[in-house]
């Protein structure tokens, strides 16, 4: 691994607004422009992709009940989380390696977010861009930093220092990825990252370039415990989200350990296959959290309807991931903005048609149990 081989990876370069009819269609269009190994990495998941499919299937377990005669016009999508006033109840999820989608890497995504405005970028520890490069695009907009911990706490302090000095206002501790999920497509493709990961390269034996996800995860910390929540919280002085929560038990455990927020996620089906759809786990978790801390939800958000259903089931905000990357692939920062615009427009329409004027109304909406 000492000598880095040059692997040719032609990431898309085009910058253009894109028409978003649906984000499912974006995925198909992105497949045509992103190199196959990169596309499979981005879109794929673990094992049978059972959990990936469940993430989508789960939406059909609850129906939205349109309320009429509801005195609604031009619904207000604004909300706030941990002191940030945001104009929409969705933020960018932390996703690794945006460079697979576009040559501008995370900086392109950041610029799209900045141009959209009024939301938050989550920066992944597995970013292919440096904090500085990202700030070129983000231009002072709010950001949270997602950490994959090193086995060496000195390294972790070092990374937290850097993230904090970059302006992160919260730390997202990913707790569901103490090893790589069983990414069969990556195995079949013998996929390795075509570029390095400047943030975590300090604790890898290598830059990240030409390394497999398996290898990188194995070099990160396996034992993520309540002590780590406390460590990050104490050291950084920042609010900590524990990401990857799928049970009420773990939500309570995280809050007990000092978490300032719960991030319900199954990592887009990319970690433990055989887990239920993330949305299927949300309601029981939110009941236990009971408003003590905010809940962020991800894994499967593709439409305004999904945002609505998640919020009506206890999430405070949601995070969107893959669809934004597809927008990045198809149009660079302009594509990112097109996707965010789409989500805003689609959510507004859903709120109007569902008879909900505010995010608070959405949270109080009753869903229809499609299984009974």
């Amino acid at each position: 691994m000492a000598i880095e081989q040059t692997i040719k990876y032609d990431a898309p370069t085009v910058e253009q607004e894109i028409e978003v009819v649906s984000t499912y269609r974006l995925e198909e269009r992105a497949r045509e422009v992103v190199p196959a190994g990169g596309f499979d990495y981005m879109s794929g998941a673990s094992g049978d992709e059972f959990t990936l499919k469940q993430n989508n299937e789960a939406w059909s377990h609850k129906g939205i009940l349109p309320r009429v005669l509801a005195d609604v016009e031009n619904p207000d999508t604004s909300t706030s989380i941990l002191g940030h006033d945001i104009k929409v109840p969705f933020i960018m999820a932390p996703i690794a390696a945006h460079g697979l989608a576009h040559e501008t890497k995370e900086a392109g995504t950041a610029k799209g977010i900045a141009e959209f405005g009024g939301t938050i970028m989550s920066i992944s520890a597995y970013s292919g861009a440096t904090f500085e490069e990202i700030e070129d695009g983000l231009k002072g907009n709010p950001r949270w930093f997602q950490i994959y911990m090193s086995k060496d706490d000195e390294m972790n302090r070092n990374i937290l220092d850097e993230a904090k000095s970059d302006g992160a206002t919260a730390i997202i501790l990913t707790a569901d990825s103490t090893l790589s999920g069983n990414r069969e497509k990556d195995m079949l493709n013998k996929f390795v990252y075509p570029f390095g990961m400047p943030i975590v390269s300090r604790y890898l034996t290598g830059s990240g370039k030409n390394m497999s996800l398996n290898n990188i995860y194995a070099q990160s910390k396996q034992k993520i415990t309540p002590r780590d929540v406390k460590f990050i919280s104490d050291y950084s002085g920042l609010p900590v989200f524990v990401k990857g929560i799928q049970t009420p038990e773990d939500a309570s455990l995280a809050i007990g350990a000092g978490a300032a927020g719960i991030w319900v996620s199954n990592h887009g089906g990319r970690q433990l296959d055989g887990a239920p759809g993330s949305f299927d786990t949300l309601e029981s978790i939110s009941k236990v959290v009971a408003g003590r801390v905010p809940i962020v939800f991800d894994s499967g958000i593709r439409r305004g309807e999904h945002i609505f259903k998640a919020l009506a089931s206890g999430a405070d905000i949601v995070a969107v991931g893959r669809p934004v990357l597809y927008g990045l692939a198809l149009g660079g920062w302009k594509g990112v903005k097109s996707v965010l615009d789409y989500f805003e427009t689609d959510l507004k329409r859903v709120m109007q048609l569902a008879g909900t004027q505010t995010i608070e109304d959405v949270k109080n909406a009753r869903l229809f149990d499609m299984k009974k």
Copy 2:
């Protein structure tokens, strides 16, 4: 929008009786004769068409239990609603833009209904024909008028005046469409109406011609509230149905606001995608309505069995929509009559085989819960 471009739209023109083996087959045949954009508009729905599919799926959630030894012969399909004695428990649903299906527009449909006799035509505010043109076909048969409200109540009074003078005996207030649903097919087709809408053109910036559904809905009133029910009821002196009810809560709200009838519908899946199948919502609504006002049901009626199931679940009558338009496309007014004849024959057969002599018997029939 001031200059109207001439878009070529070759609507079918043939007038002939058609053989109706099933209305699902009619849809496939109509696809061959209606221009693609028009067909997609008519047959399509919102988003993933999840709700459209649920409208059909929902029928399989309840089975009809054939009762035997039941002393039934030549069942009587007649019933009455709001003072109208009708020979069948189904009426024409309000559907926009019949001109997409046939050059005779709503007048063709009206003539088919008149020739069938003994039922009611719902005239859509988005009709492409004028009241006068429709009356040419309808020839004094009963009609209800469906309103999309203007933001300007003076316009609404004006429209109500005209509808009333045309002889409407009830007003259907569509409450689920304060914006357009997310019609992806229309977006992909860049579909605009190829002709104007004389009834609502008075409040549009344009005639309706060359305008998208999105645009038209956006120009109509968003805030439809209980006050509007009262306004229409008071001003017109006519009974008002609130259409688009999907919850017991809204049924009660509408009745409290003075609605003379509840119209259970999800707009054929064309408005809020992610809503449950309309039939799945019917029973709980009818329990709350509890006979205080009549219930009309639509969204998914394609067979006599469906009419039976809806009536056995609390509807007083049903409204049929797309299948009639397919009949119009395939045979003009004669095709419309063929479709109505089919529904009558099919319902009679179902009533005979289910052991029900009257519509009252159908309403009292017990269905089989297929989910348990």
Copy 3:
């Protein structure tokens, strides 16, 4: 209808033993040898064929639990019903028009049954063969007669006289067919019977030849009531099964009217489409019948497992229909015998593997609820 047109219908003529790997495969093989209109008539059902599919799907709602350490060897399939000792718990269902499958018509089926021995033939009122022709094959083996009633009771007495003099030991009153089901395939094929129906031709305006099923059913009696049960019972002095029972209510009604047996059936999905799978209705009926009279079950029996499940859910015997006709089509009477042999062998294997020595053991077996 006075002049009978000669329609060419080349029914199969071959007589040979056939290998029965599964009766589903027989259906596919029969499709190749039976003229299309006849095959569609035999294999098809009403409407969407929802109920036909449910008849098959319903088996998957209950699982057989294999019992081990059960001291079983060479299981005994014999049982008795209404005084007949039979070697297997299945009999021939009454099916119309065997001549569509084979030129030997019902006589071929009868011979196959006679050669198999130890079971009962149900003779349909819509037989294409006369009682005499059938007896040529049946050779004194037991038979029940299934009646479609005339509107004229004198005709009914006449038919009952003939059936009784032919040796019928029970009358099966089909109560679910007071009109024809909505057989879409027949409509598309413009299917009419290519030969007459000597038993009911006495009350038809025509022989049955060149007549549609719709027409024939319409000429039979619609009002089948408890009085008819009593009439047949009193006049014939024979035990009467009421066939087409799908509800506990009707089972009680039939018994109250003097029925000597309940025949649970949805007519193979050929009458009221939208009805649940026949097997799904069996258990609740058998609980109400509670052993007062025997229960025959049909609609969907294709395997030994199905016989087992039906018996374990309350049936005393089952009737098999279409698979026998496919055997007739593929091998004449020898094919019929092959199919009956298959069912016997398959049932024996299932009984052995399920740990049940006798039919009584089967009836007491506990099934597994696959829906929970």
Copy 4:
């Protein structure tokens, strides 16, 4: 049957490590190298293969809930059963006729197991290799012997003597196979074994070669009863598993008869079709067994997730069958080892991601009910 015809059967011969991305892919690869009749025999099941499909479907009825903040690193897969300390909670299932997969027959499998180490081989009575040949590969590793009983107890004593002298530490009494299941593919292929079965040939009229499974099972004992459990236990002095348990009732019966272990299995769907998925029956059985004796589970294990789910539902260990044979077919003993390595690696990953450090933790994990 006296003269043995020479049937050409070219079993694979290659010995190589294989890449196991998933065992489902192995099945597809094995299909390409194993003669069709042999492959269908190995991979196929009874009847409609309903139960085979249920074995796979059943896994989706329960989801694994990933637990985070769990202090887990390098999970420990070791456990013990009946005094054997094993490094993984899976063993080799008893499967007949490994020679269909590879010319080295059971000896190849045995060598792969020995090289993997730390687990147990179950030797089938229908082995194509002799005990001596198997020991060449197994080299003293632990083994259990699975018996199909002769109708002649003298023969059974003889077989038990031989198994015991070979070093078997437990006897597996297969109780679900007192006749062959209804293997339709074998019938269509007219499949007979291309080689003899030295262990049971002593009680067959023939060596096993050129004999069908039907024939062989018919010559074995049908009446397997609690007395046989006692007989084997008393005569051999070895612990006896009763294999093929699918009900709590039979688990209790077996324990009452002296069984030292319960083997939950539906024979991979190869015996009674129409049975539920094996995993669906496990939980109720384990509740009744309540730790009195250990439970082995098989039928459908293809992934680490499946092992996890089975253990969390009451199994103490699982047995893997077909995937190992596919490994044998593709790579001889090296392929067998590759498959066992895969299961170990996959289980470790699942344990890590599910937050379980030990097998005891897995057993105490709560699963998510996907049906509710």
